[in-house]
Structures are given as structure tokens and as C-alpha cells.
């Protein structure tokens, strides 16, 4: 390379090549990653059909899929899926909204931090499922108590990651804002929030996965609809294909929603200098 390497970089060509190679490695990763699951599925199917395992305990994968598709065709399944998604969505929204407000406040203001953080840390020590009886007592077994439970689950990871993100911000960047005589609000909006965005997104993603965990718990403990309820129903009526089917659906939706957040994260954090963005 010449001595003027700095201005000699031609980024556009490089990017195109990268896209192709990543697509190829992605494909081969997918292939390699599915070898064992596919093998297990085949063994499972065979074991179930050959009678190695009792089919009333572990039905064959095809039986499970059949059950799900029948339920989907009859329309019964959509109600269960819909209500579960509804609980996760609003619980997630409420939990992260409260976490953003409290997290930003405690991260920015030392007094608010000293006021609120010890209490929140103490509340965090309570295993969140322990709240269930109380919520049911307070707000009944309706939707509100389930959404609240999900929100509690989502709140803590988002709050913790956001505050630690804000506290970890480079003081040097804050000083740049001070040189421009930024107001507090400008500091928060233009420096603090963007700088804390990476850890906030980490919090959002682990918040979502906790949200899924909590919706299962909420629905197991008292619901008349939802994927979690379907599992209890399957257990009580000795229908393992229902239980396994619900597990698979949970896995699919959990993965799907996480993938959405992951895409958003990747898009908004293009600027990060990390291994993932390395070219």
C-alpha cells in the first residue's frame, strides 16, 4: 500500500464481497448446525413408531405436528397464540417503558440513584415468581395480573443494563457536550442515551426472554387460554402431543421475537467497533 493509505480505502467494493462470503458461511453454518437436530428427530420418530418408548408419554414428531396443524385448521390454536402474544407484548412494553424512565433517571441523577436503586436492588432479590400469589390477590386472575407479571420480569434486566450502561459512559464524551454548553436534556438525548444504547439493547433482549419465561409461569398458574394453559390442559388430559406442541410453539415465537430484536440491534449498532461488525 502507498503511504497515503488513509485516503486510498475504497469501501464499497469491500462491502459487496463481504456480503457474499457472509451469506455463504451463514448457509454452511445452518447446514452444520442442523445435522444433530435432524438426526435426533429421525431417531425419535423411529423410536416412537417402533414402540421403544411409550407413545402415550412421548409421541412421534409427526403426531405432534399433526396435532398442531389440526388445531390450527380448526381455529382453536390461534386464540391461544394470540392471547399469549398479547400478554408478552404489553408486558414487555410496560416493563421496558418503566425501566427506561427509572433507569435514565437513576443513571443521570445521583440523588435519584441513591433514593431508588437500593430499593430496586432489594426487590430484585425476590424471585419474581414469588410475586404471583400477591398479584393474583391484588389484581385478580384476569389479564392485568399476567401482564403485570411479565412486566416485572422484563423490568429488571432492562433497568439494570440501562443504569450500568449510563454509569459506564466515558466522561470524556460528556465533557464534549459541556464544551458546547448543552443543557441536561441535551446531554441525555444527544450523548447519554446513544452511548448507553448498546447495553440498553442487551437489556431489552434479555428482558424479552424473561418475558417469555414469565408468561409461561403466569399461564401455568391460572389461565383459561394461552399456550401455557394448553400445556396444563395437555398434562391433565394425558395428551403429551399438546404439551410438546406448545413447547415447540413457545420456542418458535421466542426465537422469532428475539430475532426481530437482534435485527434492530444490528441495524442501530452498525457504528460499534466489535467483532460482529469487523470487516
Amino acid at each position: 500500500m502507498s503511504s497515503r493509505t488513509e485516503t486510498a480505502v475504497t469501501p464499497s467494493v469491500k462491502e459487496k464481497k463481504n456480503k457474499k462470503t457472509t451469506l455463504r458461511t451463514w448457509n454452511s453454518n445452518l447446514l452444520l448446525g442442523s445435522v444433530i437436530p435432524v438426526l435426533l428427530l429421525v431417531v425419535w420418530e423411529y423410536a416412537s413408531r417402533a414402540g421403544w418408548v411409550a407413545s402415550h408419554l412421548l409421541p412421534a414428531p409427526t403426531t405432534v405436528i399433526e396435532e398442531i396443524t389440526t388445531m390450527a385448521q380448526e381455529g382453536e390454536l390461534w386464540g391461544h397464540i394470540g392471547i399469549t402474544l398479547y400478554r408478552v407484548f404489553f408486558g414487555f412494553l410496560a416493563g421496558s417503558a418503566v425501566a427506561v424512565v427509572l433507569g435514565a433517571a437513576t443513571g443521570y441523577n445521583k440523588t435519584i440513584h441513591r433514593l431508588l436503586d437500593p430499593m430496586l436492588q432489594a426487590l430484585r432479590a425476590i424471585p419474581s415468581l414469588a410475586w404471583v400469589p400477591l398479584f393474583v390477590l391484588w389484581i385478580g386472575i384476569g389479564e392485568a395480573s399476567k401482564v403485570t407479571l411479565v412486566a416485572v420480569g422484563v423490568f429488571f434486566p432492562v433497568y439494570l443494563n440501562l443504569t450500568s450502561g449510563i454509569q459506564g459512559i466515558d466522561r470524556k464524551l460528556i465533557e464534549v457536550g459541556r464544551m458546547y454548553n448543552f443543557t441536561s436534556l441535551q446531554q441525555i438525548r444527544r450523548i447519554i442515551l446513544p452511548a448507553a444504547l448498546p447495553s440498553f439493547l442487551v437489556g431489552i433482549r434479555s428482558g424479552l426472554s424473561l418475558g417469555w419465561m414469565f408468561v409461561v409461569a403466569a399461564e401455568l398458574l391460572g389461565a383459561s387460554q394461552g399456550l401455557g394453559y394448553l400445556m396444563v390442559f395437555g398434562q391433565n388430559t394425558s395428551a403429551p402431543e399438546l404439551v410438546i406442541g406448545s413447547i415447540i410453539l413457545f420456542a418458535i415465537f421466542g426465537k422469532l421475537t428475539d430475532e426481530i430484536l437482534k435485527r434492530i440491534e444490528k441495524r442501530t449498532l452498525r457504528w460499534q467497533d466489535n467483532v460482529e461488525n469487523a470487516s
Binding site: K172, V176, M179, Y180, N181, F182, A195, W271, Q272, D273
Partner: protein, 237 residues
């Protein structure tokens, strides 16, 4: 333009910082502060810029809005990693018409074509240029530069020094340039203040009466360099 009257900022029970600094800058003047590392040069700039309020003494600016009079270029680029080059350069600029000048400045510092790049994709020299452009776009009345080129290779350094010269020629910005590079101070400054000690004090002051742009190998500058070196002689107390 700027008058500094017996200003002190002491750290660690009198073992660090600087003491009793008197300094005055005329409008358009470029003054260099030379000193070994640790003698409080960065601290001096932080005090002047208003980032450090724990000082004693008196600082006067000829400006009617003293808090907005200073622009600072830090020792590190301090770019916002989530902003592109052009967004970083116009960061903090309130005046919309100024933003239009950002493009012009990008070309001046040789970053055309990199407007949409993020700091992670820049070399050290390019990041430093972005920082220079950012501190210039706001057109501060007094520009404070803290070892702006100390982390750069010799070629980029000379390029950027010439860039500063051309910008001064255009805008006549009053500038206080902190450096530990004697050649740089001699090449760029109208006057050089030498600091030494811990806490640092102003030891002496000398004028560089040579029209700019100067020749880097100028004999007169070489003589001044010898003077400065003997001034900074560490065997002397």
C-alpha cells in the same frame, strides 16, 4: 481577548497541577504553551475552558458571553462513535447555516468521501482531523488545542499543521496551543510560553518574530530551539 491573572489549580496537596499563571492573549494571536508532560498543561486548558471550576485567580475574556467564547480540541479526538464523520463535525452546532459549511470544512481537512463513515472505520489521523474540523466549525473566539497532533505520524502531523496555518490565515482565531513538540511550537506560534515544574509554573516567554508560513529548517528557528532546550534543561533547577 484573554487575560489570565495569577491562576492556580493544585492537585494532590501541592504536588501537581499548575501555579500562579499569568497570561494574556491579543486578538488573533497564536500562543504556544511548551512543557514536559505532567506540568499541568492539560489542566490549564481545562480551567480556561470552564471544565474545571476549582481554580483560584481570575480569568477575563473580552467576550460578552464568556461561557461560549472557548472551543476546545482535546488531546484525544473524542468523537461520538454513533455518529458519522459529518454528524460528528456538526455536533453541537446550533446555527443551521453553519452546518452548510461543514461540507466545505470536510474538504479542507481532506475527508471528502468519508462523510458517512463511522469513527471505528477511521485511522488515528483521520479521527484527529474530524476533531479539528469539529472544533473549527463552531468558530470559537478562543481556540484551545491540547497537543492536537502528538499521536500522529510525522507526515500527517505536518499536513495538519499546515492546515491550521491556512485556517488561521482565513479566520484569525485567537489560539492557545499546548504542545511538547518544540518544532511545532516554533512553526506555528507568535509567542511561546514555557512551563516547568510540578506544579507547573511559567518559566519564561519568547517571541517568534518570523512571518508565517515559516520554513521548517529556518536558521533563526533553530537558534530559538537551542534556547528553549537549554531553558528546559533538566539538570538545571
Amino acid at each position: 481577548m484573554l487575560t489570565v491573572n495569577r491562576v492556580s489549580r493544585i492537585f494532590q496537596e501541592g504536588k501537581a497541577g499548575f501555579r500562579n499563571v499569568d497570561l494574556s492573549l491579543k486578538k488573533g494571536e497564536v500562543v504556544g504553551v511548551l512543557g514536559t508532560s505532567g506540568c499541568g498543561k492539560s489542566t490549564l486548558l481545562r480551567v480556561l475552558s470552564g471544565l474545571d471550576a476549582g481554580f483560584e485567580g481570575d480569568i477575563q475574556t473580552g467576550s460578552d458571553r464568556p461561557e461560549e467564547a472557548f472551543g476546545m480540541m482535546f488531546q484525544e479526538p473524542r468523537l461520538m462513535p454513533w455518529l458519522t464523520v459529518e454528524e460528528n463535525i456538526s455536533f453541537g452546532v446550533k446555527d443551521k447555516s453553519r452546518k452548510a459549511q461543514a461540507q466545505e470544512l470536510i474538504e479542507t481537512v481532506g475527508l471528502a468521501g468519508f462523510e458517512r463513515h463511522y469513527p471505528k472505520d477511521l485511522s488515528g489521523g483521520m479521527a484527529q482531523r474530524v476533531a479539528i474540523a469539529r472544533s473549527l466549525l463552531n468558530r470559537p473566539e478562543i481556540l484551545l488545542l491540547d497537543e492536537p497532533f502528538s499521536a500522529l505520524d510525522a507526515f500527517t502531523k505536518m499536513q495538519l499543521q499546515d492546515l491550521l496555518l491556512s485556517i488561521w490565515e482565513k479566520h484569525h482565531t485567537t489560539t492557545l496551543l499546548v504542545t511538547h513538540d518544540i518544532d511545532e511550537a516554533l512553526y506555528l506560534c507568535d509567542r511561546i510560553v514555557i512551563m516547568r515544574g510540578q506544579p507547573g509554573q511559567i518559566e519564561s516567554e519568547l517571541f517568534v518574530n518570523r512571518p508565517k508560513p515559516r520554513k521548517r529548517g529556518d536558521v533563526h528557528l533553530a537558534q530559538l530551539k537551542d534556547e528553549i532546550l537549554s531553558e528546559l534543561d533538566f539538570t538545571k533547577r
